[in-house]
């Protein structure tokens, strides 16, 4: 598994369009605890091009940041030039670092939310450069088994989305092998129409008590819901509504979520 078991992650679902997605990614805080999701509507609208573009932008955003940090660490005396807005180019920094035998190895974690329901092998084959993909928990068991196997084969994390599955444990019991991540999900339409529908927090410990998997919670969007999910032992929290339309507030929102996330990590350690 690519994700680390002891860490907590915030997953940002990008569902709008590629321009908005780019703006959001460029405003995200730099962290290996941020997961970027190419959302289903975006994939269905733009195809796999959406995934590769998101990956490109994320690489640009995060590896630039990492290069800058490494550069400052290696050449602390040059920091004042960067801070002063000196136009030291990315390539110059890479060249200097290379001379010191250093390079940037940070790879952003991107999830392709393909919501596979059939033809697992084919669907995994068309996505590339991602660290994880999703399959529906309501799909035939044969499909989920094949999906997990294909993910393993392709060295990416398998995520099973339990949206509209009443008892995820019953699905997990039928599988040949457990996935890397189980997503407990409250759909967008469900949430909007049935305000009473709750995120199934109680299932987190049920699942983690029986299977060595990470649990991701999707369907909440307030800072309180993110905190509550982590408090209830979730490893990943997926947010989307606040990010669905990019606003000038996006960076602030991400930063606020991230600050809360750090608090959660400390409190659960």
């Amino acid at each position: 598994m690519i994700l680390e078991r002891r860490k907590k992650y915030l997953q940002i679902a990008l569902n709008s369009d590629l321009i908005e997605a780019g703006k959001i990614i460029r405003n995200l805080p730099f962290s290996d605890q941020i997961i970027i999701e190419a959302g289903t509507p975006l994939i269905k609208t733009c195809g796999v091009r959406a995934i590769s573009r998101i990956k490109e932008i994320a690489l640009e955003r995060f590896s630039n940041e990492e290069i800058k940090r490494e550069y400052i660490k290696t050449f602390p005396s040059l920091m004042k030039f960067l801070v002063a807005g000196n136009s030291t180019s990315r390539q110059t920094m890479i060249d200097y670092l290379a001379k010191k035998g250093k390079s940037s190895s940070f790879e952003p974690y991107v999830v392709a939310d393909i919501k596979c329901n059939d033809l697992a092998r084919k669907e995994i084959a068309i996505i590339s450069g991602v660290q994880a993909a999703t399959c529906l928990g309501v799909a035939p068991i044969e499909t989920i088994d094949s999906f997990i196997e294909e993910c393993k084969h392709s060295h990416i994390d398998s995520m099973i989305d339990m949206m509209n599955v009443e008892n995820p444990l019953l699905v997990l019991k039928k599988l040949k092998q457990a996935p890397d991540v189980v997503i407990l999900h409250r759909g967008v339409d469900e949430t909007e129409i049935d305000k009473e529908k709750q995120i199934p927090y109680y299932q987190i410990r049920q699942i983690k008590g029986n299977y060595n998997v990470l649990v991701s919670i999707a369907g909440g969007d307030t800072i309180e819901e993110v905190e509550r999910a982590f408090f209830n032992d979730a490893d990943i929290v997926v947010v989307w509504k606040s990010f669905y339309r990019s606003t000038e507030e996006t960076a602030k929102l991400a930063q606020r979520f991230y600050e809360k996330l750090k608090i959660s990590v400390v409190s659960t350690a």
Binding site: N15, T40, P41, I43, K44, T45, C46, G47, V48, R49, A50, I114, K115, N117, D118, L119, A120, K122, E123, I126, L136, V138, A139, P140, E142, T143, D145, S146, M163, N164, G187, V188, D189, E190, E192, I193, D194
Partner: protein, 220 residues
């Protein structure tokens, strides 16, 4: 939009764009052939892919062809239907296992945009139970045996369900999961209105173009 008295053959395209182009070129031009942009195809090429298929098939027919966008919608019923309509599709699919709210929104939006709503009952043991819960019924119910299911288990095509549904609901029935002419004829013989094939086309387009011609000649 489809005529209940006719039977249709739906060709699902799940390969590459150039394969799709080749297959459309081989198909006999007929209103009784429906062309489907398969889920994997949509995930690979997006709505632009659907538009290209629409243009190719409509050109071949000499008029607007019937394109099914196999979205297998699971959430956000509204947005996906709008995207399908914009791409030129006449029908879109939603999973029977999606939340009921999603299916309701999906059907409502399809009606509003004047495209056929297809509910795919793959992995649904009792399609009836889903239909009962809906605010309004869809235009088409798809009874489905998945690709992995048919390859890895002996699961049968659910012919038995057809009459049960038709006795109660005024819908068209589509049967997916068969590949041979015998299976296609079996589905229509068992009162399905649409038979969906995909595998044979990707493995042997010439053979299946022949199947389509045989279908048009022998099945009414």
């Amino acid at each position: 939009m489809l005529n209940k008295k006719l039977s249709y053959l739906q060709i699902a395209l799940n390969g590459t764009l150039s394969e799709a182009e080749g297959i459309i070129g081989l198909l006999p031009a007929s209103d009784r052939i429906l062309v489907e942009a398969g889920t994997s195809f949509i995930k690979a090429y997006g709505i632009q892919g659907i538009s290209i298929i629409d243009r190719l098939w409509s050109y071949k027919l000499g008029k607007k062809g019937y394109i099914v966008a196999d979205l297998k919608c699971m959430d956000r019923g509204f947005t996906e239907v709008i995207a399908a309509k914009e791409s030129g599709a006449q029908a879109a699919t939603c999973l029977g296992l999606a939340p009921i709210q999603t299916i309701d929104l999906f059907i409502e939006k399809c009606k509003e945009l004047n495209i056929d709503s297809m509910i795919d009952m793959m992995n649904v043991e009792f399609p009836f139970e889903i239909l009962e819960k809906l605010k309004q019924i869809p235009n088409i119910v798809v009874l489905h045996r998945g690709v992995e299911e048919s390859e890895m288990s002996n699961k049968e095509i659910p012919y038995l369900q057809i009459h049960k549904i038709l006795e109660t609901y005024n819908v068209l029935i589509s049967i997916a999961g068969g590949e041979t002419f015998k299976e296609v004829r079996g589905a229509i013989f068992n009162d399905a209105n649409i038979a969906v094939v995909w595998k044979a086309f990707s493995e042997n387009p010439l053979q299946t173009a022949k199947l389509a011609k045989t279908f048009l000649r022998e099945v009414r």
